[in-house]
């Protein structure tokens, strides 16, 4: 047990180091000049050469990249994530506020796409070749090949602009004091981005579950269950779901990375103040501190999801659980 914990902590540390180094390197290599981006186009043009050089010196443009990285890493180890250039606030504060929005959005999309995708996949797999299967498959193929941002735009046009059912963006009503915002208003603002994210996620999960269901339906134990007098659906309930749960759990936790990736685009489309939107802003503004922090945060999130899948697998599957004990 102790060995397991240590092993995973070492892995996580190495992963986060690698992710932060790569993010740091990428942003240094990007053509966006952080000084120019932060001073503003008009001010930059009217600025004298000497002033520009002075600013560059102040921002440490000429410091070698490895030295900048080591400085940043040292500060992070002391608990200082740095200051965001774009938001002019401590990175920790920016992330803390936005992570709440993003995690709420992701959680809704994650649960909806997981439950809906699993249900559709099982029904399609059991009724393989039937009408339901064909409809589910068509739905999944269309959606799996639909970009999330395009679908978001479509939803905005139809439901926010056209029908006026939902706000066109942001996480709270415009011009309202934060203290006065009700839960209903927050939920109302979350509906469209969450649906966009879920609808795209459903396709992947349903297609994978369908394949797995077909395997299970053709297994010896399902045939034997029916030979013992169970109807197809009784056999599915009693033996099928149990055996489908394992791959579904792995898939569900592995899909965290996809949902996070989708949320970057969806938040951008809906002007939803989450981590994804902040990541885009940070990248376009050369905001190294914020971008690295978000990269590390999301890597830790995905790592956590995969780790939970691993642990749950061992808890649920007796072949693994008992195998561990006897070893």
């Amino acid at each position: 047990m102790g060995k397991f914990v240590v092993k995973h902590i070492v892995r996580l540390t190495l992963l986060l180091l690698a992710v932060s180094a790569i993010a740091f390197g990428l942003i240094a290599a990007s053509p966006v000049d952080p000084v120019q981006a932060n001073v503003g186009q008009a001010a930059w043009v009217s600025m004298s050469e000497a002033k520009r050089a002075q600013l560059a010196e102040y921002w440490g443009v000429n410091t070698p990249i490895w030295e900048r990285y080591v400085n940043w890493l040292g500060a992070v180890l002391h608990g200082d994530l740095g200051t965001s250039l774009r938001y002019n606030a401590p990175v920790a504060d920016v992330i803390a506020w936005r992570a709440g929005n993003t995690l709420a959005l992701m959680a809704v999309a994650w649960v909806v796409s997981g439950v809906l995708g699993f249900a559709l996949g099982v029904v399609a797999g059991v009724k393989r070749g039937g009408v339901v299967d064909k409809v589910v498959k068509a739905y999944c193929f269309v959606l799996a090949s639909t970009p999330a941002f395009w679908l978001g735009l479509l939803f905005l046009m139809v439901f926010a602009v056209g029908l006026g059912w939902f706000p066109i963006g942001f996480s709270v009503p415009i011009g309202k004091a934060a203290a006065d915002v009700t839960f209903a208003e927050v939920a109302h603002h979350m509906v469209l981005p969450a649906i966009t994210l879920s609808v795209v996620g459903v396709a992947q999960i349903a297609l994978h579950t369908r394949e797995k269901t077909i395997d299970v339906m053709e297994s010896d134990y399902m045939r034997f269950a029916r030979a013992r007098g169970l109807t197809t659906w009784q056999a599915v309930r009693r033996h099928g779901l149990r055996n489908l749960a394992l791959p579904a759990i792995t898939l569900q936790f592995a899909s965290i990375s996809e949902i996070f990736g989708g949320s970057v685009l969806v938040e951008q489309v809906f002007s939803y103040p989450g981590l994804g939107q902040a990541a885009v802003t940070a990248a376009l503004g050369g905001d190294a501190a914020l971008l690295c922090a978000i990269a590390v945060f999301s890597a830790a999130l995905v790592f956590g999801g995969n780790l939970i899948a691993n642990i749950l697998y061992g808890v649920i599957d007796p072949r693994i659980r008992k195998g561990e004990v006897s070893r």
């Binding site: 134990y221 045939r223 009693r238 599957d317 007796p318």
Partner: protein
Amino acid sequence: MEERAHSAEHTHLQTHHHHSHTASSHHERGHHLLQVSSLSIGFRMYDPDAPYFAAEQRVSNVIEDLSISVHVGEIVAVVGASGSGKTLLADCIMGLYEPNALVTGEVWFDGQNMGADSLATVRGRAGGIALVPQSVSHLDPLMRVGKQVEGFSRRGEGSARAARRVKLFERYGLDESVGRMYPFELSGGMARRVLLCCALAGDPKLIIADEPTPGLDLDLAVKALEDFRAFADEGGGVMLITHDIELALRVADRVAVFRDGTIVEETSVESFASPDLLKHPFSKALWHALPEHDFSWAGAVEGSMQQGFGACVSAGGEKPSSVSGKEEA
């Protein structure tokens, strides 16, 4: 019993008699326990020999004009090469064929003419048909064995099923702790008895055993099948599907020789005492191929027979000892 007396007992139109009887086979209430008449199972497929785009659909019969009967009190062995469609026959008798299968012919069970719907109402039920499958892969890998033996309980019968499971475990020498194991923890011998208990939990009248003794050498397999003998002696019927002719001759009352999707001869085990008692040339060839006989392929034996039976006939003596060692566990 005498052949003529038997015919007289038949009250239905099932006055079959393409088979011979043994002393233990009897016609309870004047009919067979199971009678399959002129059964054909085919699948619609594209002609594999035609050029690609010109291929037309045709029906390919896997089982063709097959007839077989099982009487109360006997074990009938269906002997045929592996992969020749014997399992499909088992599925069909249980009404478990795919929707795209084209099935013709008649299945009579306990005096009733059965279709897929009526077969669904007798499989796994009391007085019905139960399957004993080949291997532990037929058990749900994620469910405890005891619960699986008890089976699916409809409302209010859970405790009765549990009680029956305890009795069966006792009778077949399975410890209570086996009930809490998962299938992957079972030894070969335990798995076989558990699968048998699964079938018996439904209190069937007919057992269809599909290669129930895989990997056992002949003596152990014969011993393992004593439970089937007991079941038959208590008034049940057993259809034993196997590729092992020696095993069939040791434990069965009658042998049905399965070849090319049909039963070429259905006869009592005693008929195998001499090739002269066997009618079909393939059965005769089979007799000659047995190790204790002249081991030769008498007369014109086609290549397909050699492929099919050459391996299994010699299998008895050549099984690695490790398999039988595992069995003792």
